[in-house]
């Protein structure tokens, strides 16, 4: 227990959060919680700690909920960002059924967040920017009027600039698009090539909504004739043409001439793809491709050669006269001289395809040239606030969702060690569980007089044999949402003396687990848990070697409680 200012504070907290008797008495629990909130002598660390503890408390009624929110209101005005963010998180989680309260809180936290974004401490600034992005995912217009705060200054470190560009890209709207684009254009000529490229990609992102202005800026950038800029612009064009077909004409007019400034593989692939797919609109397309064919021997990237093959064949279909000869040369080279197997196979494939007949080639190669619907799919839909409320003010937004997933995955194995006492404690004394579950767990031993034997040893073979020989005595479906750690479940089951015989690894779909337990009369319970992600429910099948309904029922309620508790802890 951290030191929270004074002795009585610690006493209060201990009373509130560690004493099951108080938790059982609703009124008392509620009073203590309110006293804890009202404690005035806390310093900022104590406040942050209290806010963290309160995340575990579930108010009984709406009235109580708003009481608590009112009491906590002053925390939102605190001068310490840690306390403000902690309070915000608590508000978001407590008010999960009241979206307007959540929006209100996010409006109020705007000021402190923006202040942190322009703070002198770069580290704080970075973390705040990550959280701004998180909020923008749910409320896209939330920071639009403050777009100027996210302009980069040249002395800032790279990682802050990149975050700011991302934020700018996400908050753009009709009113500020002109200024934001002007600012981003300035970044495109930055000395740092990485930053310049990030800015160009950002313009490409905005182009999905404001196509004309962005394409014009990108075209101007081609005029710079700098390699690192041209290659990224061409890649942006490729993605853009696919998503927004209306800009094809403008892109095709901008392309001639830029082949001289592209040296890297990604840029070449993008250019060749564009020439192949939209070649009929670009007058000099065959001649540009011819250059590539001439130099194919010195080309180092197999991916470029593959792209070249496909593009040339496509162009051959629309402009046969100009391409026939070089297509022949390219195919000859790929089949006879090329050492890379994939390229050679692709060459052979196209050669045989041509042998079948030109109609067949057309049927196969002339796929649609754009797919605007893909943009909708790629566009991250507005996520509800509740989907990230529990991640707010943690490391998750700082790492980013995807990186966090890989981190927690590789941590998963190590984790079950240190987490063990925590998960197992819920059945014993249980400061962690909200009180309803607590009551349920406590009730159990009295209700069915079911005593499960600890340390039941059952081999997998014996289990399998028994399982196959018995009929399902009871089948039931429980609601289940999202991910969970099988280890946690296993630990929890062990506490109530249910052994795990076998289970699929985490993340497997469908996920299965086989459990066994025995009560003091020798009656065996064999259980199968089946989790199918698509119906988001857990199917439980229980088999029993002696048919006794009352023990069966109490066994099932034990199982239900454990799974229900895990589900709630997780959420």
């Amino acid at each position: 227990m951290p030191y929270l200012g004074s002795e009585d504070v610690v006493k209060e907290l201990k009373k509130a959060l560690c004493n099951p008797h108080i938790q059982a008495d609703r009124l008392r629990y509620r009073n203590v919680i309110q006293r804890v909130i009202r404690m005035s002598k806390l310093d900022q660390w104590g406040q942050a700690e209290v806010l963290n503890f309160l995340l575990r408390y579930q108010p009984r009624s709406e009235e109580e909920l708003f009481d608590i929110l009112n009491l906590l209101d002053s925390f939102l005005k605190s001068g310490s960002p840690g306390v403000v963010m902690g309070a915000t998180k608590l508000f978001l989680i407590l008010a999960k059924k009241f979206p307007h309260v959540q929006t209100d809180v996010l409006v109020r936290v705007k000021g402190p967040l923006l202040a942190a974004c322009s703070s002198e401490s770069r580290e704080l600034c970075f973390v705040a920017l990550c959280h701004v992005r998180q909020i923008l995912h749910s409320l896209p217009g939330h920071f639009s009027s403050h777009y100027k705060k996210f302009f980069c200054s040249y002395s800032e470190p790279h990682y802050i600039k990149l975050q700011k560009v991302e934020v700018l890209c996400e908050l753009v709207n009709d009113e500020n698009v002109q200024q934001v684009l002007e600012e981003l254009r300035g970044y495109c000529t930055d000395v740092s090539a990485d930053f310049a490229q990030a800015a160009i990609f950002a313009i490409g992102g905005i182009a999905r909504t404001y196509t004309d202005q962005c394409v014009q800026i990108l075209t101007e950038l081609l005029g710079l004739q700098q390699e690192h800029i041209t290659t990224v612009v061409v890649q942006t064009f490729r993605d853009l043409v696919w998503l927004c077909p209306q800009c094809t004409e403008a892109v095709c007019q901008a392309l001639p001439g830029c082949e001289e400034n592209i040296q890297d593989s990604e840029g070449k692939q993008a250019l060749i793809w564009l020439l192949g797919v939209h070649g009929e609109r670009i007058p000099n397309a065959p001649y540009v491709l011819e250059d590539f064919v001439e130099n194919v021997k010195s080309e180092t990237f197999p991916a470029v050669k593959m792209e070249l093959l496909t593009a040339l064949l496509r162009l051959f279909l629309s402009r046969p006269a100009e391409c026939q000869d070089m297509l022949g040369r390219l195919l000859y080279y790929c089949i006879e001289e090329e050492k890379d197997m994939a390229v050679r196979d692709r060459g052979l494939f196209y050669y045989r395809l041509l042998l079948v007949g030109i109609d067949e080639v057309k049927r196969i190669l002339c796929s649609p040239k754009s797919d605007p619907t893909l943009g909708l799919l790629e566009d991250p839909a507005e996520r509800p606030v509740n989907s990230w409320a529990s991640d707010f003010n943690t490391l998750v937004p700082v790492y980013g969702k995807s990186r966090w997933a890989t981190i927690s995955k590789c941590q998963g194995a190590e984790r079950c060690g240190p987490e063990l006492p925590k998960t197992s404690s819920f059945a014993a004394s249980g400061p962690l569980i909200p009180e309803e579950n607590k009551e349920r767990v406590e009730e159990l031993p009295d209700s069915g007089a079911l005593m499960l034997v600890p340390n039941l040893q059952l081999t997998a073979d014996y289990f399998e044999k028994t399982w196959l020989s018995l009929k399902v005595a009871h089948q039931q479906v429980l609601p289940w949402q999202g991910e969970f750690h099988p280890d946690t479940l296993q630990m929890a089951l062990q506490v109530v003396n249910i052994q795990t015989i076998a289970m699929s690894r985490a993340g497997a779909r469908p996920w299965k687990a086989y459990l066994s337990a025995q009560d003091d009369t020798g009656c065996l319970f064999l259980t199968e848990l089946l989790l199918k992600p698509e119906n988001s429910e857990m199917q439980i099948s229980v088999k029993q070697n002696e048919t006794r309904t009352e023990t069966l029922n109490s066994f099932i309620s034990v199982l239900e409680t454990v799974i229900g508790t895990i589900e709630e802890i997780k959420s």
């Binding site: 660390w45 840690g82 963010m85 580290e123 704080l124 802050i160 300035g186 490391l395 790492y399």
Partner: protein, 463 residues
Amino acid sequence: MISQFFILSSKGDPLIYKDFRGDSGGRDVAELFYRKLTGLPGDESPVVMHHEGRHFIHIRHSGLYLVVTTSENVSPFGLLELLSRLATLLGDYCGSLGEGTISRNVALVYELLDEVLDYGYVQTTSTEMLKNFIQTEAVVSKPFSLFDLSSVGLFGAETQQSKVAPSSAASRPVLSSRSDQSQKNEVFLDVVERLSVLIASNGSLLKVDVQGEIRLKSFLPSGSEMRIGLTEEFCVGKSELRGEEKGSVSPWGYGPGIRVDEVSFHSSVNLDEFESHRILRLQPPQGELTVMRYQLSDDLPSPLPFRLFPSVQWDRGSGRLQVYLKLRCDLPLKSQALNVRLHLPLPRGVVSLSQELSSPEQKAELAEGALCWDLPRVQGGSQLSGLFQMDVPRLPGPPSHGLSTSTPPLGLGPTSLSFELPRHTCSGLQVRFLRLSFRPCGNANPHKWVRHLSHSDAYVIRI
């Protein structure tokens, strides 16, 4: 919570290492951190890093890395706040924070850490509380020397203005007075503003942003009450204009109103008299404290300190680029700006630079593809100019259009300025008075130093 805490020098040498929970790794973690930090790809942020179930969170402060590791998913805001509070605390106790002072005061630092953190949980960071537990005296580095200006920090000394510092306060530990009673009772109050500005190429103002704070460094014995009077016309929020109440003709009251958008105060500040008289009351603990932070955007009461009038002539054919910069300083006549540096990125491949500057103390040079123009001192109301000629041999672009003045070559600009403005606040906020309610030791009046300072955060002018 926090598993380990360590401090690394700027070169990666561990200066302080403390393991609170004994749950992860050993001393080589510090090395691992530095290796990870230096090997990080450019687009990833070093603030939070992950290695085998351990998160590293660090801040850089005065060239040192202050790092904590944790294996839990903690609040990043809280941890960063703790780190910067630790930095201030160490600075208070050791005099100033730096590689030298830390390595001279290792015992003191460990003692402090023991009291601040227990098993990875914060116990207290208040100077008042800690004072009772800390026994070790700080080892003060060396006597203040007039020639060594690098030891003069922000407090109590103006960097170039007056070469005589009032005392060696900046590098004096707060709590070393036990043996040395003769030291003065001093209190330093700084109003510091950071200015970020963006000006479009046609001279119109796109963005102004002022971040200000009032910082206090007190050497007074704790318990003495202090009253800080701010400018009376000070008001918060867009609508509130205090002048109207006074019934004067102008809505701004007597003088120009001082308006800020948002204010936050330190929790120890008593605001009873703030509404009526703009007075902050507080009992400051010894050491450094940020009394008030405020922000102001888009609407400055005073003109911007600098205006730049550039003209660019560019001959594509010969690759000759001529930039004429005229810098006007719009500060009041008595004020001046120090350490002004103008930074102008140039197109790639610029080789030679010839310059004509308006006064001899200025200096201009090419550095990292940019032009740097240094002006050590600019008087308010003055106007300075510089003519720069450069050769850009392979400046890309379509064939010659002859002399062009309208379209500058891409890659030129935007200009950014950095400077300090002593005795000037851009918002106009001033400290009217600083009063101490009772005389602490009776021996002498405490010395009070009040200072106003603005400096540039990002002052960008597009060309």
